[in-house]
Subunit: 208 residues, 2 copies
């Protein structure tokens, strides 16, 4: 089985949607992070808490995964585009209003995340970690990696993050986020001018 992140050579060939992450299992290829996690949980019959067999708990994971797309996923990664990737390709920083606008959207989403989903529970669906927490945390570490520490003034969110770190294991947690947490170092690399010219307008469009 091949499971590749964005910087792996095989990923472009694998994903049907030419998107990363991508999974290849024999002749079978699959894109989309949530679909891949669900597939792996079924194929390897992972512990029940990741995607509980209880239909109400399972529905709560599904509810979060669906909400996630138009909220956390729609906002959090934009911080990386604005602070690192777009300046890298255009050669100029974006006006600060752009970041402020995204941070406001993210702030609204985080308020909902805390009040509607997390509430006073240890994890999104209750006392045990599930795929919902995993999908949320990897997206929420992206702003952290570019210097927008969204956990700083949100104690409830920070406590949840600590519980996720403990449940996953601190070593694995930081290994999984190593690239994201050092993404600012990308600012120092040189990029082919032609590639810059091609990609800059595409990147700008993604911010819309």
């Amino acid at each position: 089985m091949f499971l590749g992140p964005s910087n792996s050579e095989g990923a472009g060939k694998v994903s049907l949607l030419k998107k990363v992450p991508a999974l290849k299992d024999g002749d079978f290829t699959l894109a989309e992070c949530t679909a891949i996690l669900l597939y792996l949980s079924r194929k390897y019959n992972t512990p029940d808490h990741w995607y509980p067999s209880d239909i109400q708990k399972r529905a709560q994971v599904d509810e979060y995964l669906s909400w996630h797309h138009a909220n956390i996923r729609a906002n959090a990664p934009k911080t990386m585009w604005i602070k690192v990737l777009i300046p890298l390709f255009t050669g100029q920083p974006l006006p600060s209003e752009k970041l402020q606008e995204v941070m406001e959207g993210l702030s609204t989403s985080l308020k909902q995340f805390e009040e509607r989903f997390l509430q006073d529970k240890a994890f999104i669906i209750g006392s045990e970690i599930s795929l919902a927490d995993l999908v949320a945390i990897v997206e929420l570490m992206q702003p952290v990696g570019v210097g927008c520490d969204i956990f700083e003034d949100r104690p409830r969110l920070m406590e949840w993050r600590r519980r996720v770190e403990d449940a996953v294991g601190k070593e694995l947690f930081f290994q999984a986020h190593e690239m994201i947490l050092s993404v600012k170092e990308l600012s120092n690399i040189q990029i082919d001018p032609q590639l810059k010219e091609q990609l800059a307008p595409v990147l700008m469009k993604m911010l819309k």
Copy 2:
């Protein structure tokens, strides 16, 4: 069990996220269309083709449902905001460039939908209809309801729609889309001026 569309009185009380559609089953409440469909398919043990037990086919449904959010769902309903709902609350039509921009985004999504998902298959995951087709069709009927017939110049998409209509049953299909297909009639209703003032900026923000 209560399952309410946006115009039902109970919906606001039911949905944890104050969103519609919403489901209430005893004490259990659930928002998000895809989570509700998955819950119902499990609770009522619906025929296998809706969400196949084969893990690869199931993964393909999940892949589509995930992709759907940032593509079809992110574009198709905006046509209704632009053509009917925002003019209704602001009292003025939006500049035509706004609709054009949304239609271009939708066009890109539809190209991917046909080439990556539908291909030369009868339905999204093969020869049988699944939840992926249902989730896609209800979103794609929204532009049709406001006069942007996206099926007109897309024979492959139109053939797929006919197959979905047949699989669901034509009567049920049109019953389910009756409100969407007559949404233009909303333009004639009178709205409380204070409500207009409150909602206009919120609606405009949704277009971003």
